[in-house]
Symmetry: C2
Subunit: 250 residues, 2 copies
């Protein structure tokens, strides 16, 4: 069972999959991961039993791994199965997506076939704005909206590509292909950029290398989006493989 | 009345607003402008009486004006009120949009308020693909889909910005603000880039400088899209002012 969450009075922000609480240290927030699942801009809603704990555990492991590779992350420590403390940051309202293989909206919007291996990783920016349904941003639109400075945009893209290299290598050890994933970043009071949010089967497309069937191979939230069944079991497998890889290589 | 169009056997392409016919010279096509109007990816359909003739006349005038400024265009000559001959080109399946003031999908997708003056003209690319509903393209997606080469993308953007300067100046003489517009380009057999398609109230947002009311000032297809009435009259006014400006300054 999840730990009792902090009192409502400390709640700072509630998103679709996580709640952020203030702590006694104003530079630290507590993140509680929920079992709630949403898709298609929250038009589809459900619960995935144990998701909060699994995603928290997977994200904690991946943040720790990335930190060993020199990536600054907001992660401090996992305080309960579904809870972690993180640095309080000013979140940049941009979702940075890295794509190695065509899937999801890239296919719908370009006509590229699902599974097309991209000649090089594609970094894309989306406006983190529920009312506007998280639209794709060109770099010009991102700058026009003052969501980040030109040098921050470059830094975001470079960090995202570096993280893609580390995560692709890591998931290969798990016998998993990292198809694409979404990152969020935040700035500390000194303006330093940190990886924030989470990295989990909610935010990555992960395909099992030991499966060739296009439905059976799916280990991520697409199982929920597409009603493929076995959602919790897939997340459980990802968690097991991630923890095993961490244990073997650390 | 429009001239009798050429025989069906010569039809090379029928779009929403124009039909292209082959001619005896394979390097030349005949374009016939239709009164048909569509909006919202052809979900809304209608007719605007006289539109074919007005758009053909406006486009012919603007193509001639741009040619005098050194812009290579596909226009050869207006052969009838609703017909013009043009160079046969390999059309690049990209719509190049230049925006001076926020309107339309830019507002819907970014939350910018209608009428926001942009700090500098915004050049955007859209995939000319009805099935995909002409989606916005980042430069990376445009290149990924091999719709143009990197140097062609640069050339498209530069030409579009230059055309924007010329057209903005021209429409100012007409007491009209050029809010935004869509261009298409094509390549001749030698790979030289030409401005193609049309420039008309179907493809531009034009606001009457002598009106401040946000509905009364609209002189373009938004009158049709938004059921503002007086569509043909607005096109007629644009045609009159364009021809007057051409007569005064040429």
């Amino acid at each position: 069972m999840p730990e009792t969450p902090p009192s409502e009075t400390a709640k700072r922000y509630e998103g679709k999959a996580k709640i952020l609480y203030a702590t006694e240290d104003e530079s630290v927030l507590l993140t509680v991961f929920k079992d709630d699942a949403t898709a298609f801009n929250a038009l589809k809603r459900g619960q995935i039993t144990g998701k909060g704990q699994m995603n928290c555990t997977i994200a904690a492991a991946l943040f720790k791994y990335l930190a060993t590779q020199g990536i600054p992350t907001h992660f401090i420590t996992q305080t309960a199965p579904d809870q972690m403390t993180v640095k309080a940051l000013q979140i940049i309202p941009v979702e940075v997506v890295v794509r190695n293989i065509a899937a999801g909206s890239l296919c719908r919007q370009t006509g590229l076939e699902l599974g097309t291996i991209l000649p090089q990783p594609l970094v894309e920016f989306y406006y983190k704005n529920d009312d506007l349904q998280d639209p794709l941003l060109t770099r010009d639109r991102l700058l026009l909206l003052n969501l980040a400075t030109p040098s921050q945009v470059e830094e975001l893209a470079q960090m995202a590509l570096q993280i893609n290299q580390y995560l692709t290598t890591f998931f290969k050890r798990c016998n998993v292909t990292l198809v694409d994933f979404k990152l969020e970043f935040g700035l500390d009071p000194q303006g330093m950029l940190y990886l924030a949010d989470e990295i989990s089967p909610d935010t990555c497309r992960l395909w099992d290398d030991s499966e060739t069937d296009p439905e059976r191979r799916v280990m991520d939230k697409d199982r929920f989006r597409q009603d493929l069944g076995g959602v919790a079991a897939a997340y459980q497998t990802v968690q097991e493989r991630v923890l095993q890889a961490i244990a073997q290589f650390s």
